[in-house]
């Protein structure tokens, strides 16, 4: 079963605008990661935020984590047509024997040129 849900399920914006995606999860975590997937192909790792971190930046990406609300957000600034993809959050469960990931349902982002 999925760990949680992402919101919105789909998002359409114009190039240059910012895109914000939200992720909620259910159980305690070690970390939360965001991945991008183009046209149903492999997943590309974007950013990892640890459970004791609240915010992290990487290039045009900004991720926040609120463990009290069990939620995270991914902000993509100054979006480009090449950012069109599905975005998934994935959690590494706390106390797990392995680093298995539990994925959300994904947000489909379309950036119009």
């Amino acid at each position: 079963s999925q760990q949680g849900e992402e919101d919105p399920q789909a998002l359409s914006i114009q190039e240059g605008e910012n895109a914000t995606m939200n992720c909620s999860y259910k159980t305690s975590i070690n970390n939360l990661q965001w991945y991008r997937q183009n046209s149903g192909r492999g997943l590309v790792h974007l950013i990892l935020i640890r459970s004791n971190e609240r915010e992290k930046h990487s290039g045009r990406l900004r991720v926040t984590l609120d463990t009290s609300k069990k939620s995270s957000s991914l902000l993509i600034t100054a979006s480009r047509a090449a950012d069109t993809a599905s975005y998934f959050c994935a959690t590494g469960p706390y106390g797990g024997a392995t680093n298995k990931l539990i994925f959300g349902t994904g947000t489909l982002l379309a950036v119009q040129p």
């Binding site: 970390n31 192909r41 997943l43 790792h45 998934f88 590494g92 392995t98 680093n99």
Partner: protein, 114 residues
């Protein structure tokens, strides 16, 4: 440095058949995980292999089995295929104990069961 590779890229089978998918991890990685991604869904964890043994398993029936070889590559086997097994199968590699590190995913094998 080659990333995670998977073969084949696409596969068509009929119900009741058996299938074997293959994965080679990223150089320096010793742990391989398999995920199933149905259309429109997020990936779901099938199992993880380290030192040629299954370390953890998700909620998948025994029809799904795996193997890891001494060179860390891995196979996913699915027996008695069902229509519902149609999905993208993703392999991910990492280093053992890397709880706080990312996993690297391959391009996937798209399986269609008719």
């Amino acid at each position: 440095d080659a990333g995670v590779t998977q073969s084949p890229t696409h596969l068509i089978k009929t119900r009741g058949q058996q299938v074997t998918l293959r994965c080679s991890p990223k150089s320096g990685h010793d742990t391989v995980s398999w995920y199933q991604q149905a259309l429109g869904q997020g990936p779901q964890f099938i199992f993880q292999y380290y030192e040629e043994e299954e370390r953890q398993r998700g909620n998948f029936p025994d029809r799904f089995s795996g193997h890891q070889f001494p060179n860390y590559s891995s196979e996913l086997n699915v027996n008695a295929l069902l229509l519902g097994d149609s999905a993208l199968y993703l392999c991910a590699s990492s280093s053992v104990g890397a709880i706080q590190e990312t996993q690297y995913f391959g391009p996937g094998t798209r399986l269609l069961v008719l």
